[in-house]
Amino acid sequence: MDVVQNLKIMNKLGLHARAAAKIVELANSHRSKLYLKKDGHEVDGDSILSILTLACPRGSEVQARIVGEDSEQFMLALQDLFERRFGEHQ
């Protein structure tokens, strides 16, 4: 089942290496496949380099699309990660 949702980046530095690494970690612990899209450009959510190339600053939005059996649960976890600002203090 496909789940699609827009997520806002609220941590101070935007989608930088540490934040991207956390997304990849999450993707690796789920069976479903994650795609992230910004400005019409879609990349694999399990590739730290691809996520970095999206170059998302704070305040911008990405569209997350998850395909697979545990997609809903995965989306909830992803949403939580974004809302917790990737565990950063700011």
Partner: protein, 594 residues
């Protein structure tokens, strides 16, 4: 006689990134010399074996990274995430899958295919606007180098098996390399490339190894076992030093050790009064290069970053990018400690070349600082944008100099709002909660302190200008310079007025003039209720010593006594008597003359 090779003496200058002075033998770590063979493969069997060979090299690299992570000394544990991200890069589809695809489709060997994948990633990253993300390509290169080494197999030199104590000479050291160093064997390191905020510099500082980077071609000039003299304070490196060099370096080494132990004693202790009141002690700086000294002297942040320097060079006005890079670096190095950046405090006369402003009769009372900036809005906005952009990379405060009334604050804040809107529109990150404060250095601002406090986040009392304007004394004029008196009763009352106004409104207040760095002023300033001081880095240890020798209760009594005295001389006599009791070894005469 010990006959040595007729090696020639050479002096090089690089960027000093980690302090300390050492003389020792070189050990070359030539990481870029992994020889790459370019090969076409003929049949499927070869191709599949090549893919297997590549995957085996990836596995081996992953094991090495994991191993390194577990060997990290405790004090650099926080950098472990760098190694985690390297493991992720290793398995990334842009690197792994595309290399395997290339081996199979282009029928080339693993090394070649990996090189091609790296080139492609590099092209993609070069397109990225964000400087921080763009430079992550260094991490990808480090990982690729590691894989290439494992592909080559055999006994690649490892930093773990070094004999004797040596100075590491390398093109560059990756974070993994630096953690791999057998610390007890390494005296320091020097590299061809790198900058002040590179991972390697940060690691070297954490490990307290002297380091000089950016020496360009040092790996080509040094031979294995050459004697090296390295000064991690100035960035000087001497290859094959002569006897005089060695004597000089030994002297410097001794001096530095002495300096370090004296600093370590006073500077790094908390600025806490005898009865447990903590005072925040920060540093004033003018150049990026001073930041290291702030840390060494125990500064808890930068209370005043004067930004005029970049505007005073002959090449014309600095660009937003140049300013941003400079501010970002200061913010990053100091983070999480705060950095207060003061906007331009120059007079129009300094811009004569660019703006054709006529010479002023009395520049101290002329079109300068905030007045100039409000008039030349484009110059002002460029700087504000750079400061806001830097705020995303650390803990940045902004402050306006020479505020004389509320209108200037409102006008400046309106321009700030415009800048923020522009940045929002362009999706550029910044800290929306950045504190904005003002300098209190014009007497009219003292009179209006209560009103101004409601519109800003903090005050910073600039006593140098405040004394000059309040007492109508031109410090540079030899006939009246002697009348420039920090202990003038009027000045003490003005400072008190500002502190009271800030206290009523609940905003922060600090003091950043020379008074903050004068030991004799400390009891009175503490008694006045100042809790934050910012000064020249070098003064920090001495000031901390005074703070630690006095109780807040005594300081309050001292201020009460001093505020009842009616002349500067009486205040001076009283305070020097007190200091003789508090710190008998302090050279009071020196401070009185200063």
């Amino acid at each position: 006689m010990n006959v040595r090779h007729s090696s020639t003496r050479k002096r090089l200058k690089g960027i000093a990134v980690s302090p300390g002075i050492i003389i020792g033998k070189s050990h070359l770590v030539d990481r870029s010399s992994v020889k790459i063979l370019y090969q076409y493969l003929i049949n499927d069997k070869q191709l599949h074996r090549e893919v297997e060979r590549f995957e085996a090299a990836l596995d081996k690299t992953e094991r090495q990274l994991n191993c390194l992570k577990h060997q990290l000394p405790n004090h650099v544990r926080e950098h472990a995430y760098i190694l985690d991200s390297h493991t992720m890069i290793l398995k990334d589809s842009m690197l792994k899958d595309s290399t395997i695809k290339r081996i199979l489709s282009e029928k080339i060997n693993a090394e070649w295919a990996l090189k091609k994948s790296l080139e492609e990633i590099r092209r993609v990253f070069e397109e990225i606007q964000d400087l921080y993300i763009r430079t992550r390509i260094d991490d990808v290169e480090n990982v690729c180098e590691r894989i290439l080494r494992n592909l080559a197999g055999g006994n690649q030199p490892s930093l773990a098996d070094i004999n004797g104590r040596v100075i590491i000479v390398a093109h560059d050291l990756s974070p993994a390399d630096t953690t791999e160093l057998n610390i007890s064997r390494v005296m320091g390191f020097i590299t061809n490339v790198g900058g002040r905020t590179s991972h390697t510099a940060i690691m070297a500082q954490a490990l307290e190894i002297p380091a000089v980077v950016g020496l360009e071609s040092v790996t080509a000039q040094v031979e294995e076992g050459d004697l090296l003299a390295v000064d991690g304070n100035t960035g000087e490196v001497i290859i094959n030093p002569d006897d005089n060099d060695i004597i000089l370096y030994q002297e410097r080494q001794l001096q530095y050790e002495k300096y370090k132990s004296s600093i370590a004693k006073a500077g790094l202790l908390p600025a806490e009064t005898l009865d447990g009141h903590l005072i925040t002690v920060k540093a004033n700086i003018e150049f990026l290069e001073e930041v290291a000294a702030v840390r060494d002297h125990g500064g808890e942040g930068i209370g005043l970053y004067r930004t005029e320097f970049l505007y005073l060079r002959s090449r014309g006005l600095p660009t937003e990018e140049e300013l941003f890079e400079d501010y970002r670096e200061v913010a990053e190095i100091m983070s999480p400690a705060p950095v207060t950046i003061r906007t331009l405090d120059l007079g129009g006369d300094k811009f004569a070349s660019a703006l054709e402003i006529s010479k002023e009769m009395n520049p101290a009372l002329g079109l300068r600082a905030i007045r100039f900036c409000l008039k030349e809005k484009e110059i002002f906005k460029t700087q504000l944008r750079a400061i806001y952009r830097a705020s995303a990379y650390g803990h940045v405060h902004l402050m306006f100099p020479m505020i004389s009334g509320l209108q200037e604050v409102l006008d400046a804040k309106r321009i700030l709002e415009e800048v923020k809107e522009d940045l929002d529109r362009e999706n550029i990150p910044y800290d929306p909660q950045m504190q904005v404060g003002i300098m209190i250095e014009v007497p009219s601002a003292v009179a209006l302190a209560e009103l101004l406090a409601r519109h800003v986040d903090f005050f910073s009392i600039g006593t140098n200008d405040l004394i000059q304007y309040a007492l109508a004394i031109d410090r540079v004029n030899e006939h009246v310079a002697g009348m420039y008196q920090p202990f003038h009763p009027a000045i003490l009352r003005m400072i008190q007025q500002v502190i009271d106004a800030a206290g009523k409104t609940g905003i922060g207040v600090s003091l950043c003039g020379e008074m903050a760095g004068d030991p004799l002023c400390i009891p009175i300033l503490l008694g006045l209720g100042i809790t934050e001081l910012s000064m020249n880095s070098r003064s920090i240890p001495a000031i901390k010593r005074v703070i630690r020798a006095i109780s807040m209760e005594e300081a309050k009594r001292d201020f009460q006594t001093a505020s009842m005295l009616s002349t500067t001389q009486e205040v001076k006599d009283f305070i020097s008597g007190r200091m003789r009791d508090l710190l008998p070894d302090l050279d009071i005469q020196k401070h009185l003359d200063a």
